[in-house]
Amino acid sequence: MNVQTIQKMRWLCRTDPQFRRALQDDPPAALARWGLAGSETAEALAGSLRALLSRSPEEILTAILQEDPPVWEGVPPEPTVAW
């Protein structure tokens, strides 16, 4: 995962309507035109994760937290079941 790519795509989405439109219409072409071709991170964000680009950071956090209560790896749920 590439940190700079995330920053760049976020910035483009916020500031460049052309990029937003191109990403909607033809993601591979958009990535090529804005110098993001060949990046797995960019491809992920241009694909099904594209919906996240239009959400604010707070909205993304909320989306994660709204999932079902977490199952911890190493931190157990309360052992209430008498087994």
Binding site: P57, E58, L65, V71, E73, W83
Partner: protein
């Protein structure tokens, strides 16, 4: 963890009768061993309590069954055969968790009433328990060379995790995001790679070569080990996310633990943001408002999005690793498990 436990994912992973029966058998084996060796005093009670807690975990997310699913995914027909290996792995895995907590000198969430020396002793005990169960599980029906291979795999994975942990405890690992990723690849990836490799190797012993040896490192064994490695990294990501945004007790920002979110933010921030983050982190141990402000800064820096991306990258790799395997219920279960574990909301999973 963020993956939603609804629909097909949940039912495949947790709800089947076979899953519950396998967990029953696995924990009966663990408890049976504890009673058979007649541990006196508090240690036996402590370890039994730990088994109950671990079972409660596995009812929600049955990671203990990874070796069983791996065995079935390469054509194993009697999953009960892999239960012993799974019990040994779970014991070793729990040992690692306890030793990690004891090494950090912090209260163990698995044994909240034990002080670090007691946690340390319980962890060491579980290593011996894993060895005993592994020896018994491979004493019959498993060719001796395969049994030796399994023992060596357990030892190797344990040593790899211990080496990574030692590096971290000594502070030799560096403090960058890249350093951290390299460290968790060994510490968090290798135990789960072991779980998958062990199950697959056990099935291989049903098809030994002329010398009774397991067949080298067949592609399917490696594929499953790769899956386990990526699953382990996803679990670590979820743990690190929870440590900041779903803490139990004092979170990672309050305790100053440099995990993925903080290190990523440091890598991403500009000079002003970094200075502000460090200021907040210095105050966070004694100032909940500073901790909350640090958490908010991580959100502003898009750390949750980055964690989703990292988790999805690992899930993609985990699923890709399974491609050489024939379709089977076990393979589908492994895919569902990875989707359960990823931080990505279900509607945006690739």
């Amino acid at each position: 963890m963020g993956g939603r436990a609804t629909g097909a994912h949940c039912s495949l992973v947790t709800a089947s009768c076979q899953t519950r029966a396998a967990l029953d058998a696995l924990y009966n084996l663990l408890l049976g061993w504890l009673r058979a060796v007649e541990l006196k005093g508090e240690l036996g009670i402590t370890l039994e309590r730990l088994c109950r807690t671990a079972r409660a975990q596995d009812d929600a997310l049955p990671l203990a069954l990874l070796p069983v699913w791996s065995y079935a995914a390469v054509g194993g027909r009697d999953p009960q055969q892999a239960v012993g290996i799974a019990a040994a792995w779970r014991s070793l895995h729990l040992a690692g968790k306890l030793l990690n907590d004891a090494g950090n000198g912090r209260p163990s969430t698995l044994l909240p009433n034990e002080r670090p020396p007691g946690v340390l002793n319980a962890g060491v005990s579980l290593i011996f328990l894993a060895q005993a169960i592994l020896a018994e599980a491979t004493a019959s029906d498993v060719p001796p060379p395969v049994a030796l291979t399994l023992q060596a795999e357990f030892a190797r994975a344990g040593l790899q995790a211990a080496t990574a942990q030692h590096t971290r405890l000594r502070g030799d690992a560096g403090r960058s995001w890249a350093d951290y990723q390299a460290l968790v690849a060994r510490r968090s990836g290798s135990p789960f790679a072991l779980a998958m490799r062990a199950g697959a190797l056990l099935q291989q012993c049903g098809r030994p070569d002329e010398g009774g040896r397991a067949r080298g490192a067949p592609a399917h064994v490696q594929a499953l080990a790769d899956y386990g490695h990526h699953l382990g990294l996803m679990l670590q990501l979820a743990d690190d996310f929870n440590g900041v945004w779903r803490p139990r007790g004092r979170g990672d920002l309050a305790t100053g633990r440099p995990t993925w979110p903080l290190l990523y933010a440091e890598a991403l921030a500009d000079a002003d943001q970094r200075a502000r983050l460090w200021t907040l982190m210095r105050r966070a141990p004694d100032d909940p408002a500073a901790e909350a402000a640090a958490r908010a800064l991580l959100v502003q820096l898009d750390v949750p999005l980055a964690m989703i991306l990292a988790a999805e990258e690992q899930r993609h790799l985990a699923e890709a690793a399974l491609k050489p395997l024939d379709d089977s219920e076990a393979r589908r279960t492994l895919v569902a498990l990875a989707r359960r574990v990823t931080l990505a909301p279900e509607e945006v999973q690739r």
